[in-house]
């Protein structure tokens, strides 16, 4: 049953010929509601990636490679060709695609466990080869889909289901600065860490993503955007608390900055 005001609203739109459409679903997103939890950063980041693809006009030449993790279902949302990768292997799958189709654009979309734990080797070597791919690295300091276990980027002292007393570096290892490590690799061209917790941060992330795709379009080398993203569900916080935790706590371990830019 339609909302009571719908007819009137439609008539209003029809009548208002001077009204300009300023906000709509990007072409590169399917008309499917996101399944992500309230307050999760994935929906925002999906939208940003899609907007950038639209803006650059590359929807029909882009192939996305989602990970295993919460974003495994990204292919249900992105309306571009999508190839699912085994856990951690996105950079290798993307390499295979890009090498065969060098004139297409290939991006990976990976969580912290995917890219910085099980897929570290694939990622570092793809970066070091200067593989012409764009990596979107969503860092929420926890294994989300499997239920909140400790991630490579879980910060010191952070409580997770597998670090119940908080992460102890000499037992559990230190949080891994993957982006900084990738910055050392000679083949990486552009690496930036941003967040999606404020409007300003969101706009910065959009800009960074655009640049990371342009680096690939200009055939320069490996580009990666690490995006700090809230996970209220597994952090056991409200969405508002989670946003504050990113800004006040997480950024101390993972400072927002351009890590490398030789584009």
């Amino acid at each position: 049953m339609p909302f009571p005001y719908r007819t009137g609203f439609t008539q209003f739109l029809r009548g208002a010929s001077k009204v300009k459409k300023v906000f709509t679903r990007p072409m590169s997103l399917k008309d499917t509601p996101f399944h992500y939890c309230p307050g999760c950063g994935h929906s925002i980041i999906h939208r940003l990636v899609a907007e950038v693809i639209d803006e650059l006009g590359i929807r029909e030449k882009t192939i996305g490679v989602p990970p295993a993790g919460c974003a495994v279902l990204a292919y249900n949302y992105f309306d571009v060709d999508m190839a699912e990768a085994p856990h951690g292997r996105a950079a290798a799958v993307a390499t295979g695609i890009k090498r065969v189709l060098p004139d297409k654009l290939v991006f990976t979309y990976q969580g912290d466990g995917d890219i910085a734990a099980i897929g570290t080797a694939e990622t570092i070597h793809a970066a070091n080869r200067g593989e012409r791919i764009t990596a979107v690295f969503v860092n929420n300091a926890v294994y989300g889909m499997t239920g909140g276990q400790m991630a490579p980027t879980t910060i010191t002292g952070q409580v997770t289901t597998t670090s119940p007393g908080g992460r102890v570096p000499l037992r559990d290892g230190y949080p891994l600065d993957l982006s900084e490590m990738l910055g050392i690799a000679a083949g990486s061209v552009y690496i930036e860490r941003t967040s999606v917790t404020t409007p300003k941060g969101i706009m910065k992330t959009r800009k960074a993503l655009k640049k990371a795709f342009m680096v690939q379009m200009e055939d320069k080398g490996f580009a990666l955007v690490e995006i700090l993203s809230p996970c209220p569900t597994n952090w056991k916080m409200s969405p508002a608390q989670a946003v504050r935790w990113v800004d006040e706590v997480m950024t101390k371990t993972f400072p927002l900055k351009v890590i490398k830019d030789v584009a």
Binding site: R59, D81, A83, A92, G96, I97, V100, L105, I124, H125
Partner: protein
């Protein structure tokens, strides 16, 4: 014969792959198959648009194969036993995603690091799945240089036809050995029909997904049954075998690959001694040629399975025979290569124990364990 060249097995495989239209290769060094990636690297360096990449690991290389297959290329990787273990993850995904790819295993002694000598210890891994989940991989087992060339061409055609990974199962010696080979005419990849699953950007068509995750159990079940229906067609269409001197044989030796060549040498020697012994050589290990072996088992009195392992294919032989004749096993694992004389001794021993009106039949299920015990 015109066009005959003397080449080592790994190079034959590489050249045959290129002639089959393979234009992408990903791999990681491991003995004894390094001459294959080296051949591909040298050849592809001179071919525009061909992709050779030495990956950081076998894991990475099989996933690059996945990517290249998704992008539509005829793609190959190769390794030897320990490296093939690492590739199993990707092979399971390739099977689930129904992606064509050719995987070469030049088997070496195992388990563990084992050694670099020829072995057949990976039969189970190759034919019974290898990775996780309910799937099969087509497994071709060449025994001669010419067969390496012919089966490599067939492997790429089958991979595309059935949209499934195909494994060429050789061994270290086969890879190193040179034999005369005549190659088929090269195919032009540009002439291949466009594959309808390829991801190359959704220009002028709806976007596509290549995936193996089906959270809906009904859909996952449907995928599994779809694979089974495909495997039934494959099982119908491609089983292949060599049957040699079996018409009057009372004893048959069953062996594949290098072991089959040696077994054939053993058969010749036994025949010279007037013993009615023949050979059954599966050329496809999956699907296994159960039917022809079953037919043989009705008139054969005893089958000896010879493998360069502790006994793996013997289980498929027993499944085919279903107790219709005696089956015994002779194996040389660990990289040891038996001699034709040795196999002849084993076969003659079995033959002499047959009940030719003067003794009891050989015991079924017997395994000749110790070296030269037969």
């Amino acid at each position: 014969m015109a066009g005959k060249v003397l080449m080592r097995g790994t190079h034959v495989l590489g050249e045959a792959a290129i002639r089959a239209g393979c234009r992408a290769y990903f791999g990681y060094p491991i003995t004894p198959q390094n001459e294959l990636p080296e051949y591909m690297a040298a050849a592809f360096a001179k071919m525009e648009g061909a992709v050779f990449l030495q990956a950081e690991s076998e894991l990475a290389s099989i996933n690059m194969v996945m990517g290249a297959s998704i992008a539509g290329a005829r793609v190959m990787t190769s390794s030897s036993s320990p490296g093939i273990s690492l590739k199993q993850e990707g092979i399971s995904y390739l099977a689930a995603m129904e992606l064509p790819a050719v995987i070469v295993n030049m088997m070496r002694g195992g388990p563990g690091l084992g050694n670099i000598a020829p072995s057949q210890g990976d039969y189970f891994q190759a034919t019974k799945g290898g990775g996780h989940g309910d799937y099969r991989v087509i497994v071709l087992a060449p025994a001669y240089g010419q067969e390496i060339a012919d089966m490599t061409r067939a492997a790429f055609d089958m991979a595309d036809k059935y949209r499934t990974p195909v494994m060429i199962l050789g061994d270290g010696m086969m890879g190193q050995m040179m034999e005369p080979v005549v190659f088929p005419e090269p195919l032009d990849p540009a002439s291949f029909p466009k594959k309808d699953f390829v991801l190359d950007g959704c220009q002028g068509r709806p976007s596509r997904i290549v995936r193996s995750l089906w959270l809906d159990t009904n859909l996952e079940e449907e995928l599994n049954w779809r694979l089974v229906r495909k495997y039934e067609i494959i099982t119908e269409e491609i089983p292949d075998e060599e049957i040699y001197l079996a018409d009057d044989a009372e004893v048959i030796v069953v062996a594949y690959g290098t072991a089959a060549r040696i077994a054939k040498g053993g058969v010749h020697r036994a025949r010279e001694a007037g013993q009615k012994i023949g050979l059954f050589r599966p050329k496809t290990l999956w699907p296994f040629p159960y039917e022809p072996l079953k037919r043989l088992s009705r008139k054969i009195r005893h089958m000896v399975v010879f493998e360069m392992s502790t006994g793996q294919m013997v289980e498929d032989v027993r499944l085919a025979v279903e107790g219709r004749c005696d089956v015994s096993f002779y194996g040389r694992p660990g990289g040891v290569v038996a001699t034709p004389e040795e196999i002849a001794r084993v076969l003659s021993g079995v033959y002499r124990r047959l009940d030719h009106g003067r003794g009891a039949a050989a015991e079924s299920g017997h395994t000749f364990r110790s070296v030269g015990s037969a």
